[in-house]
């Protein structure tokens, strides 16, 4: 699809979207200052949202957005995995399952399908949104809802030069402190910063608004203590857990199972 796609020295890249809002692919398109360089540095062979005539064969890097929400998407993902050396999950839907997975494993999926669709038989069987690593090995995770350019561009740059991207194992609070914001929890405001993976730059607390947890669970967080703290602000435990689950997808289950 690109005019110089025969250039063998450039890493071959495919950018794919499963079920989601397309915000992570859009974020890449919205890198107005870098997009021409990205297309020049890589041999972008498939990026259907931005270009016609994709070439679907072996790739060095696949970036995959979205949850797996149909059997067809599961097959597509397995097929992408087979022909990609490196697979990167981009965005909340791909890394944890997305908002469509907020009721993961509570058994309501069939009923909710019926409520919206009635008694329909689908060309491809629908399933409750699952993260990519429920089906394939994921080499790198780029969390976010959507991903941020500050993390996406260094990841691309490292992959371009054959280096390994590093994780950013810090909660939103870490970045909130760097912004010198006053902690919203001190004012007894519901904030999920301590439980949430950082990388967004603590953008919501910097607007005086609580973190809603959209980058998914921070593995090091003390869920037990934070839920107790939020309960002490006058919310029931159920309400707290409900809000934690909004963006926690499947991955949140392991952190809240003993609460």
């Amino acid at each position: 699809m690109s005019s110089d796609s025969s250039d063998k020295s450039k890493p071959r890249v495919g950018i794919y979207g499963l079920t989601g809002c397309a915000g992570d692919q859009l974020l890449l398109i919205h890198c107005e200052d870098e997009i021409l360089d990205i297309f020049n540095a890589f041999d972008i062979r498939s990026f259907v949202m931005a270009s016609s005539n994709p070439i679907e064969d072996d790739m060095d890097v696949a970036l995959v957005e979205g949850s797996v929400s149909t059997e067809e998407q599961k097959e597509h993902l397995l097929e992408i995995r087979k022909r990609s050396k490196i697979l990167v999950a981009i965005g909340n839907c791909a890394t944890v399952g997305g908002v469509q997975a907020m009721y993961a494993q509570d058994g309501t999926f069939k009923d909710r399908m019926k409520k919206v669709y009635g008694d329909m038989k689908f060309i491809t069987a629908p399933m409750e949104g699952q993260p990519l690593d429920a089906f394939v090995t994921v080499d790198y995770y780029l969390p976010g809802c959507p991903i941020s350019a500050k993390q996406a561009l260094p990841l691309l740059s490292r992959l371009l030069h054959g280096a390994s991207p590093e994780p950013f194992p810090h909660p939103v609070c870490h970045e909130c402190k760097l912004q010198e914001n006053k902690c919203l929890l001190l004012d007894k405001k519901f904030c999920l910063g301590p439980l949430t993976q950082g990388g967004c730059g603590a953008v919501c607390p910097s607007h005086g608004l609580p973190c809603v947890g959209c980058w998914g669970p921070n593995p090091d967080a003390n869920f037990n203590e934070h839920v107790k703290l939020l309960e002490s602000f006058g919310m029931t435990k159920d309400e707290v857990i409900r809000r934690i689950r909004n963006f926690g997808g499947h991955k949140i289950l392991q952190y809240i199972k003993d609460l």
Partner: protein, 429 residues
């Protein structure tokens, strides 16, 4: 050249995963399907039992490109439900926010998703070699749209800054002045775009009559919001009656609430707004309107790309007007909800057309929600224009490159397939 089936999948340069299937039998088009292959997300069920604050965080995730339109439509619906009356200046800030999204979305669609077809490229980056200046200016214009979205939304995509009753944080005077200066700067390129488009040949193989619906602004000017549905037959309907006006039905080849008005397909989006409200345009937007609009617009959705170009001019001029107004306005406070229960319908014009959110809230939690997206409204219309295109091209035996011609019809609408994910193609057994 004999073909019995045309399948275009994936449908490229649109948001989300879709395709087109056309079946031909004995040289006659038997069936046209715009397939929506996006998986189900069930947003209408995700918000049940949630607070309005949570609803507002969740709904932008329906679609990234028009995330603020979803937030805005929900705000309008929820504020009606909870009887929140925001001051006029808050509404003005929201209009500024929405202009950011219009500029971001229209420039993305016009220059990056649609224009490569006219010049024969796979994508806009490939176009850059020959049309470097256009691509660079288009990137700068899109970046400006995103800048407004970041400033007002809090983040380029899925920002939390617009809240029930107001905004978390309002832009500084300096930021507003910067926007005004930049808007004036981009106006030259937006007008140059009008001239580029005026020189393009627009294909006529698809032409047929259709109808147009958009929201009627509550004032006498052009705008992107309102509480009245305005149809091209001159009729007006209160937004709350949307279920009686926009009739949803299921069709055998597609699960789906397809939409019809007067039992026929209809168009929403920039072209519907320009045709229904264009006589309200002023200044350079009026100049652009006079240069581009003609009788063929009523029969040809390819002109939606041109309508977006006119709206880019309108939005840039309106950003300038709004900044001047806001510079002397008081800083509004966030209005708290006076009640915890009620029903409300909110409508905004998303870049790609009328977007309706409807809520019933009881004791502070959502008990019912309904979202009707532009793509759900115009899918039938796309199919009708694709059918017409197929028939014309078949009759003329011009089947070479028919795929691209049909794709151009679908792309012209700027469909947002993530938004319409409850339009999954199904097989009835």
């Amino acid at each position: 050249m004999t073909k019995t089936k045309i399948e275009i999948e994936p449908l490229a340069r649109v948001e989300g995963h879709g395709g087109i299937k056309v079946e031909i039998k004995d040289n006659v088009i038997k069936d046209v399907q715009v397939k929506i292959l996006e998986g189900p997300r069930l947003f209408e069920t995700l918000v049940i039992g949630k607070t309005p604050e949570e609803d507002l965080s969740l709904v932008p995730r329906i679609c990234a490109i028009c995330n603020l339109s979803h937030k805005y439509a929900s705000l309008r619906a929820l504020e009606k439900a909870l009887d929140i009356k925001v001051p006029a200046v808050t509404q003005t800030y929201r209009q500024l926010m929405h202009h950011g999204e219009m500029l971001e979305s229209h420039s993305l669609h016009l220059y990056f998703l649609a224009l490569p077809d006219f010049f024969g490229y796979d994508n806009a980056v490939a176009m850059a070699e020959k049309f470097g200046e256009v691509v660079q200016n288009a990137l700068a214009l899109k970046k400006f749209g995103n800048k407004i979205m970041r400033l007002m939304g809090g983040r380029m995509i899925h920002g939390e800054n617009p809240v029930l009753g107001g905004f978390g944080k309002l832009p500084s005077r300096e930021s507003l002045l910067e926007l005004k200066e930049e808007a004036l700067h981009h106006l030259d390129f937006a007008m140059a775009t009008i001239d580029i488009l005026a020189g393009l040949e627009v294909p006529d193989y698809l032409e047929r009559d259709t109808q147009f619906i958009c929201l009627k602004p509550p004032h006498g000017e052009y705008d992107y919001y309102g509480d009245i549905l305005l149809a091209s037959d001159g009729k007006e309907y209160p937004l709350e009656d949307y279920k009686k006006v926009i009739i949803e039905r299921t069709v055998s080849h597609s699960f789906a609430k397809r939409s019809a008005y007067n039992d026929r397909p209809f168009t929403v989006g920039a072209i519907a707004r320009v045709l229904n409200l264009g006589d309200r345009l002023k200044g350079k937007a009026k100049e652009a309107y006079d240069k581009l609009v003609n009788e063929r617009w009523y029969r040809n959705p390819i002109y939606n790309n041109f309508a977006q170009a006119i709206e880019q001019v309108f939005s840039l001029e309106d950003v300038v007007r709004i900044v001047d107004e806001l510079l002397t306005a008081e800083i509004p406070k966030i209005v708290k909800p006076p009640r915890g229960s009620g029903t409300g319908t909110g409508g905004v014009e998303a870049p790609r057309g009328t977007l309706i959110h409807h809520y019933t809230i009881e004791n502070g939690v959502t008990v019912d929600a309904d979202y009707i997206t532009p793509t759900a409204m115009f899918l039938d219309d796309i199919e009708a224009f694709i059918r017409k295109s197929g028939e014309t091209l078949l009759a003329k035996n011009e089947m070479d490159g028919i795929e691209l011609k049909l794709e151009m019809v679908a792309r012209a609408y700027d469909p947002c397939i993530s938004c319409s994910a409850h339009l999954v193609t199904v097989d009835f057994e």
